[in-house]
């Protein structure tokens, strides 16, 4: 590590809340291997050779489907070697093989990430990012206007508490996952709020993307390869994330796992990475850390337009609705799509909303700005007691998994409350609901396939229904069940519709909704459904209060 970076880091942070990468890697290896050996000792646990066979078989399955870049060639070679040595090996050698497998995984996970360097670089990065975005400006053809990220990103919510919790313990930011832009956006928000940087696990695919790979390598991302199904791999990822947390590294976790395909707010969260919170908390208590507390802060990200909407919606409909729906390429890889996206934000004066919700402890209790956990009646609770058995801290995986389930339930509730209704989602919702009622088609996918350019509704009728929905939204906002964007708060229905149509008309290949004379027509049914789903499950316009979007896929 260069001295400049070290100096930058020390300047940026009075206290050392960032830890050395190499030491972390060794500790993760030790934990995962020890755990594997311990399991092999138990009567019901898998034998070492069974674990290795599992590694080989899951990796071979993965590699059989891979396209075969350099990394995968090396993986193939490694697995072939593993196979040979497993067959002729002794239990002693199996132990070595387990260690080698885990070492390899740790190397990939932490490969791009050196926490100490990160602390320094992360300070500089947001500016670089702004530059990156501004780099597009000449292409945008607006010489007079500068792309000001601050103006395009509206940050709201429990900011005082957020700042204080970053001081009082370790923060896990847990946002809804809409777009690959989310992590960049949150990195920016954290920087703008003057908070220390956060680390997070990003999909391996992001590192291989030419455009974003550079950014990813530098925003404090460690690697998660979702295609690896080896239990040893998953355990290694978890151990890595846990260790970062217990060492006080603020982190970012997407509890939904992947970007929401349906466009709906996540209903079902992945418990794996969230589940690191109670474990890290217990470890920190056992090590008698000064600030052992862990705070999980829900955030919602709301975009008027979503960069990858077409891919996500297509992917969703193919998975849920069958082969009638065709494949689309990921916009995230395409420079042109980025330019168009940023151009739309700029021209239409659109903003993205980042909303920080009330923090939770790892057990799902609300946390106030002094870091105190509160029970549902507002009584202070000592969270460390959730981990006690007869006065002693006790590990219990099944128990902690249940705590995490509660935490996930509370996160989802907060997501719904902190979602910002926008003109686009509202117009899409109103039109979709109207078309749905008119069609009387009970099957969602048949309905979507049937929505051609000939389907439309008189604009005046949509205005009437949208103003009804707006009244309902205001009532919901009063009850704290949703938020309204500034435009929805102040503008009248005509303005809202105009804004939404303009937004829907610019970025996507074909307009989501278009105006033809007196009629509003469905331009792209799957996108209409995608944008509509952000407001799913609120019971607006007489739709069921339970979510419509099928499939538990996040």
């Amino acid at each position: 590590m260069g001295t400049t970076l070290r100096a930058a880091k020390e300047q940026a942070h009075g206290r050392a809340h960032v830890v050395a990468g190499e030491e972390i890697a060794h500790e993760v290896e030790r934990r995962v291997v020890d755990h594997a050996l311990a399991r092999a000792e138990t009567p019901a646990g898998p034998r070492l050779e069974e674990m290795l066979q599992e590694t080989i078989s899951t990796e071979l399955t993965r590699l059989a489907r891979a396209d075969g870049d350099l990394r995968e060639a090396a993986d193939r070679e490694f697995i072939a070697g593993l196979r040979r040595r497993l067959v002729h090996g002794t239990p002693e050698e199996w132990r070595t093989l387990i260690l080698q497998v885990v070492e390899r995984y740790v190397e990939e996970i932490s490969g791009h990430f050196e926490p100490r360097v990160y602390a320094g670089v992360a300070r500089l990065l947001p500016a670089a990012l702004t530059g990156l975005m501004q780099g597009f400006i000449p292409k945008l053809g607006h010489p007079g206007r500068v792309f000001d990220v601050d103006e395009r990103v509206l940050i709201g919510g429990e900011l005082t508490a957020l700042r204080s919790l970053f001081e009082l313990g370790t923060v896990v930011l847990a946002p809804t996952h809409v777009s690959n832009l989310d992590s960049v956006l949150l990195g920016h928000a954290v920087h703008r709020l003057g908070l220390p940087p956060v680390a997070y696990g990003a999909g391996l695919n992001l590192f291989t993307s030419r455009l974003i790979g550079y950014v990813m390598r530098n925003v404090g991302a460690f690697t998660i390869d979702r295609k690896k199904h080896d239990p040893l791999y998953r355990e290694t990822v978890k151990a890595y994330a846990t260790l970062l947390l217990e060492r006080g590294q603020h982190s970012l976790v997407f509890p939904g796992g992947t970007r929401s395909r349906s466009g709906a707010i996540e209903e079902h969260l992945k418990l794996g990475l969230l589940g690191t919170a109670p474990i890290a908390y217990r470890h920190a208590l056992e090590a008698q850390k000064r600030r052992p507390r862990i705070f999980v802060v829900p955030c919602t990200l709301t975009y008027p337009l979503v960069l990858e909407a077409a891919t996500l919606a297509g992917d969703y409909l193919r998975t849920e609705g069958g082969p009638h729906f065709v494949d689309v390429h990921d916009e995230f890889e395409q420079l042109g799509r980025w330019v168009a996206f940023l151009k739309s934000l700029l021209e239409l004066d659109l903003s993205v909303h980042v909303q920080f919700g009330r923090a939770l402890d790892p057990f799902g209790n609300a946390v106030d700005e002094n870091g105190r956990s509160l029970d549902p009646r507002g009584r202070a609770v000592d969270p460390s007691r959730y981990l006690l058995v007869r006065g002693r801290l006790m590990a219990d995986d099944a128990r902690d998994a249940e705590y995490t389930r509660t935490l996930a339930t509370r996160l989802v509730e907060t997501y719904r409350q902190d979602t910002v209704a926008l003109p686009t989602s509202l117009l899409a919702y109103t039109l979709f609901e109207r078309v749905r009622r008119d069609s009387r088609e009970p099957d969602l996918f048949r309905l979507l396939r049937g929505l051609g350019a000939d389907v439309g509704v008189k604009e005046a009728e949509i205005h009437a229904e949208l103003s009804r929905a707006l009244v309902e939204l205001h009532a919901l906002e009063k009850k704290g069940r949703i938020l309204l964007s500034p435009k929805l708060r102040t503008d009248d229905v005509t303005q809202v519709v105009r804004q939404a149509l303009a937004t829907f008309g610019t970025y996507h290949a074909s307009p989501v909704i278009e105006r033809r004379g007196e009629w509003l027509r469905v331009g792209d049914p799957s996108l209409l459904y995608y944008y509509r789903n952000r407001l799913d499950g609120y019971g607006l316009l007489g739709a069921p209060a339970r979510p419509l979007a099928p499939g538990s896929r996040p």
């Binding site: 029970d375 009584r379 969270p383 099928p550």
Partner: protein, 354 residues
């Protein structure tokens, strides 16, 4: 668990006293909380609780108290045996004393009237505890108290809760089975009471065993449909706390809810029927909740609705039976049961838009 756990049982009614005695008989210390100083004195002096369980000699390790604090402070496991409509109030008071490390079980078979919430949901809303579970099964208190053999289920997603429950309640005369589907077991326990009232009516009106079996089984199908919509695992309904409990409560003349049905069919008013029991019949409340829930989840529950109308809207029991027998028939076994295999995912219905 080297050292024996201390228990608190909240509620010294019929079932609470019986369960406290089961635990105490296993050599565990039990603090039994009651509101009544007279009851406390009787339990502590003569080891009886005549008003609640006639003839029972309560184990010496069961010590009654009127102080919630005394009961809860020292306890590792707290078992709540409070009727559903008073459950929240007691939880709220206990919430001042319960700590995150407490393990909590309850034995209450009902739903809260105003909110239609399950007891474990109320616990989560009123206290800081997370490690909770439920005990339920075909357990007529009088039989258990008399030492007759029985089986029951302890369910929790927390293995330690299950383990404590299993150890404390198991005896040569009580077989304890385990489960994890807390919502499923709570819903079975609450909703079967409504079917039991129908069974009582059918018995008293002597409509015949065919008709009774028909009504009870249709009741079970309705119960399954509603419980499934509310998150129960379908196969939980085939267990001790499902069909097991339904069988005993629909057949036994000792069942409180069955007795309410009989009394109504004899021409008693609801008030008279309940008064003659001297205890709470949960089905009287549960029918109300079931109707609300049916609406919320968009499910038709003709049997539950008819029982509710008999209980609360003055429909005559005869008319109700005629109405039920006259309904159009449809699919017998609900699709999610027909297609259910253990562990198989049955929760992926195609979305219905209307």
């Amino acid at each position: 668990m080297s050292e024996l756990a201390r228990w608190a049982v909240l509620g010294a009614g019929n079932w609470g006293t019986t369960v406290a005695n089961l635990i105490g008989s296993n050599g565990l210390e039990v603090a039994l909380w009651t509101r009544s100083p007279e009851q406390r004195d009787e339990i502590n002096r003569s080891h009886t609780n005549e008003k609640a369980v006639k003839g029972l000699v309560i184990a010496k390790r069961v010590v009654a108290t009127v102080s919630l604090q005394e009961a809860i402070d020292e306890a590792e496991v707290v078992l709540i045996a409070i009727p559903s409509q008073a459950f929240r109030e007691v939880c709220r008071a206990a919430g001042e004393l319960l700590r995150p490390e407490h393990l909590v079980l309850h034995v209450t078979k009902g739903l809260e009237n105003e909110t239609q919430k399950r007891m474990s949901e109320i616990l989560l809303e009123e206290t800081c505890v997370r490690q909770l579970g439920v005990v339920s099964g075909p357990n007529i208190a009088a039989e258990v108290a008399a030492g007759k053999p029985a089986g029951t289920v302890v369910a929790s997603r927390f293995p330690r809760v299950v383990e404590h429950g299993r150890r404390a309640l198991s005896s040569p005369r009580m077989m304890v089975f385990t489960g994890t589907d807390v919502p499923g077991i709570e819903l079975c326990g609450a909703l079967k009471n409504v079917v039991a009232i129908a069974a009582g009516i059918a018995d008293e009106l002597a409509v015949g065993d065919n008709a009774k079996a028909f009504l009870v089984t249709r009741g079970l199908a309705e119960l399954m449909r509603l419980a499934y919509a509310m998150g129960a695992e379908p196969l939980t309904l085939t267990g001790l706390a499902g069909i097991g409990d339904l069988m005993v409560t629909c057949a036994s003349p000792l069942s409180r809810n069955h007795r309410v049905g009989v009394a109504l069919a004899k021409g008693a008013t609801l008030k008279e029927a309940v008064a003659s029991l001297g205890m709470v019949a949960e089905g009287v409340h549960a029918s109300r909740s079931a109707r609300v829930l049916a609406g919320v989840h968009g499910i038709e529950l003709p049997l539950f609705e008819s029982v509710d109308r008999v209980l609360h809207e003055g429909l005559s029991p005869q008319k109700a039976i005629e109405h039920l027998m006259g309904l159009p028939s449809g699919r017998d076994v609900p699709h999610f049961i027909a297609g259910a295999r253990s562990g198989a995912s049955v929760r992926s219905p195609r979305p219905s838009l209307h």
